[in-house]
Amino acid sequence: MRLRSLFATAMLSGIYSFLGASWMLLLDAPDVAFTEAAVGAGISTVVLLVTLSLTTREEKPTRFRVLPLLVVLATGTALIYATFGMPAHGDPNAPAHQWVAPEYLADLVPTASGEVIPVGIDNVVTAVLASYRGYDTLGETAVIFTAGIAVMLLLRRRPKDEGGTP
């Protein structure tokens, strides 16, 4: 099955993101579900639609090629094979639950003077993001800022474009 209408493709990707948000909710990750629903299903779809209104709504017909299909199949098979080596969902002995997670859940953060104090934040996700991994989140915010600056530099209409010949 092939879909050449890019409008329908944009809508399908939005629906897929919304389903992804529901999976995240089923996995007890409401923070991620929020983000996926708002960014993936909402803002990304809007940006895709605006892009379609600037370009075209139909994909150009392309020749069917075998090599990309083989690459995709091989990568997909390798990824699915790799999931067999993962621990079961919710396994308490999984490495992710053994290393730093117990410290985070115990709600203790070391201070500069060497003693240990509670962070006292009920939502452990917020505590991990903002306090235990504050450097990471600072970096992420810088990445978002840089991405915004890059998009503005690339797409901004220059003053000479205003009212001039296209």
């Binding site: 923070d31 201070t111 104090i117 006292g120 505590a127 903002a130 504050g134 800022f145 915004g148 296209p166």
Partner: protein, 140 residues
């Protein structure tokens, strides 16, 4: 569009609640799901909905691009500034415990200010990206 007034009335009713929900997610992030990133995204979605329904010009009057650009940088500066203040108060960079006498209180306030910085940057960047896309016309 055949009946734009339906869309206008419904989105006028919805937008205040979306903005309120964004602030709830922002400031209740310590206790419930959410935080700066999610709140910023929801806030941006409200403004983008406004721009979609009422047009880009009214949205630019509400939130001019010059203000949005400065807010994007301000949020990041607030985040880094909390780290610097923690250093000035004798702690490590981003060590919120050093912010106040009571260390857990310092963690609370540090996290709240940092999340506000994240929210401001995320909301402004998403709005600015939407403005950049929507401000262009075909063939330019």
């Amino acid at each position: 569009m055949k009946h734009p007034s339906i869309l206008r009335v419904v989105s006028k009713l919805l937008i205040p609640y979306i903005l309120l929900f964004a602030f709830y997610v922002q400031f209740h992030g310590d206790y419930g799901p959410g935080g700066g990133f999610q709140a910023g995204v929801i806030f941006a979605a409200a403004l983008i909905l406004y721009a979609l329904v009422f047009g880009l010009e009214p949205a630019l009057r509400v939130a001019p691009l010059a203000v949005i650009e400065k807010l994007a940088a301000l949020g990041l500066l607030i985040y880094a500034g909390v780290g610097i203040v923690a250093m000035l108060k004798g702690g490590n960079f981003l060590d919120y415990s050093a912010l106040e006498q009571h260390e857990t209180q310092g963690q609370h306030h540090g996290i709240m200010i940092v999340e506000a910085g994240v929210g401001i940057t995320v909301a402004s960047v998403l709005i600015a990206i939407f403005y950049s896309f929507a401000g262009r016309r075909r063939g330019r």
